[in-house]
């Protein structure tokens, strides 16, 4: 029984580690292929220069053209909050 456990553990280890490597190798290959295809055939005119600073400009763009119903409330709340905040700071 105990040795069974040991051998089952070994099997699971081999298999699991093997599968992790196979899967991630596949991912490396498909990712590289995908990047190559996109950079070759579907380049963007203005790629974003750095990956970390990217959240901000996108959010900017996104919020710059919202449907009018969606953002008025948020704007109102934040606007009022900022307004009061400034007053208080003075």
């Amino acid at each position: 029984m105990q040795d069974d456990l040991l051998s089952e553990g070994l099997t699971l280890m081999t298999l699991g580690m093997g599968f992790v490597f196979v899967f991630l190798t596949l991912l490396v290959l498909t990712t590289s292929l995908m990047s190559w295809i996109i950079r070759r055939y579907f380049p963007q005119l203005h790629p974003q220069p750095q990956s970390q600073v990217q959240a901000q400009p996108r959010a900017d763009t996104d919020l710059a053209t919202p449907s009018p119903m969606e953002d008025t409330t948020l704007m109102a709340v934040i606007g009022a909050a900022v307004h009061r905040h400034r007053k208080r700071r003075r």
Binding site: L6, E8, V20, V28, R39, Q48
Partner: protein, 440 residues
């Protein structure tokens, strides 16, 4: 006077067991680690507090109605419950023995139908599910909370560095050896006779080596719910200890020259690549490992919402209000598994010990894989970023950066280390999928 005595007999002081006192101490210790030592406070504050609540004597906050009835019910209630559960109660024995035999049946997993019947009897007798028990059912037993958190983590993840240098996925793969080494460790401890883990439990323990809180909780909620408390505590504690555990190993396994390797600047990654990547990862999961679909599916979903740029509202909520709400209840629910009679076992020590080993092995394997890649490839990789493959985002990447700066104060490895760091998240989820496939 009788009434005053009722208060006293029902008080915590009268009923406090040694184990509960110890566990309340453990809860306070976790809070101290979280608040003073800043050990993953977002999780350890709720877990520690939940642990205290779960060990309040007589309150039964972490127990189902049936479990409370078993602990506190009259002989009459016990007989009804035994009937509902098809348990024979030998008439000669003490009430305590009856409680024991019913409790054993309930804990060892009566069928859903029988459990429901037992709860019906208990509720009819006036007992109700404890608060933490309800949180646990909704948040963890259903599997939902870790998945929703994983969605939020996906939204917080930037795959840019990984896409700029896909080879770093190998580092994330190698570091998962910590998972399987830990599994073997648990198996060996059982074989030697020091502990008593099943293969399923060993697998759940192994996932601690993935250094990924939600993944650990998700896997152990499926494979070994009875160990979930210890596994989650070990998982988050060691993630917080990454800055202490990793550097000595990193220094021992690398030469000064290797640590000074300057890596080539990462290329800019277009938004299109970032949008396609989560979908591609999802398709690979669909084709090769359906069992990882809940975890990686939600992760990819969160990331796609982040990158696609048209659902900013949803993405923002999933990274803020939603993940915060779920974290509160996930933490309290994990705390419900810190009940004295289940947590205070020698197995917990084994889990804590193995978790530490897992992190060390994962770190080492990540570094060694980086050195191996350097042997077979021209583009140099600083082996220090290999340790980030254990995930523990973003702590491990910061450690790589910090140790790198020691050797070369102008060599910033942070962004390079983010590649293996997020690769480690994918790697552990894949390993989790394999475990669930075989043992779930």
């Amino acid at each position: 006077m009788d009434n005053v005595m009722t208060l006293w007999y029902g008080s915590g002081l009268y009923n406090l067991s040694l184990g509960q006192a110890v566990m309340i101490g453990v809860g306070l210790l976790l809070l101290w680690l979280a608040m003073v030592k800043k050990f993953e406070p977002l999780l350890l504050v709720p877990i520690g507090f939940g642990g205290i609540l779960a060990n309040i004597p007589e309150a039964g906050l972490a127990l189902s109605a049936a479990e409370q009835a078993v602990h506190m019910g009259t002989a009459d209630v016990l007989q009804q419950m035994a009937e509902a559960l098809n348990v024979a109660l030998p008439s000669g024995e003490s009430l305590e023995a009856w409680r024991q035999s019913i409790a054993t049946v309930l804990e060892d997993g009566a069928s859903p139908a029988l459990t429901r019947a037992a709860n019906d009897v208990a509720m009819d007798a006036g007992y109700a599910h404890g608060m933490l028990y309800q949180f646990y059912r909704v948040a963890i037993a259903s599997g939902v909370a870790p998945l929703v958190i994983f969605m939020g983590v996906g939204g917080l993840t930037d795959f840019g560095p990984l896409l700029a240098n896909p080879r770093t996925l190998f580092l994330g793969a190698a570091a998962q050896f910590g998972i399987f080494a830990t599994l073997m460790g648990a198996v060996v401890l059982t074989n030697v006779g020091w502990m008593d883990f099943t293969l399923t439990q060993a697998a759940a323990i192994g996932i601690i080596g993935g250094a990924d809180g939600p993944t650990s909780i998700y896997v152990s909620s499926i494979l070994a719910p009875e160990l979930l408390g210890a596994i989650a505590v070990a998982s988050y504690s060691y993630m917080a200890l990454v800055p202490l555990i990793q550097p000595p190993i990193m220094r021992r396994l690398t030469t000064r020259r290797e640590r000074s390797i300057v890596m080539t600047q990462l290329r800019p990654v277009s938004q299109r690549e970032k949008i396609v990547f989560p979908l591609m990862l999802l398709l690979l999961v669909v084709l090769f490992l359906p069992d990882a679909a809940p975890l990686l599916g939600m992760f990819c979903f969160g990331n796609l919402m982040r990158e696609c740029g048209v659902v900013e509202r949803l993405s923002s909520t999933s990274q803020n209000a939603l993940i915060n709400i779920v974290t509160i209840f996930l933490g309290l629910s994990v705390g419900s598994k810190l009940m004295a009679d289940r947590f205070l076992a020698v197995e917990t020590l084994g889990i804590l010990g193995l978790g530490m080993v897992a992190f060390a092995i994962g770190t080492a394997c990540g570094i060694l894989m980086a050195k191996l890649l350097n042997l077979i490839s021209k583009t140099p990789i600083n082996p220090l970023i290999g340790s980030a493959g254990v995930s523990a985002v973003p702590m491990a990447a910061r450690v790589s950066n910090k140790v790198g700066l020691e050797s070369n104060p102008h060599n910033f490895l942070l962004m390079h280390a983010m590649g293996p760091n997020v690769a480690g998240v994918i790697g552990s989820a894949v390993a989790a999928g394999v475990m669930i496939k075989y043992l779930g």
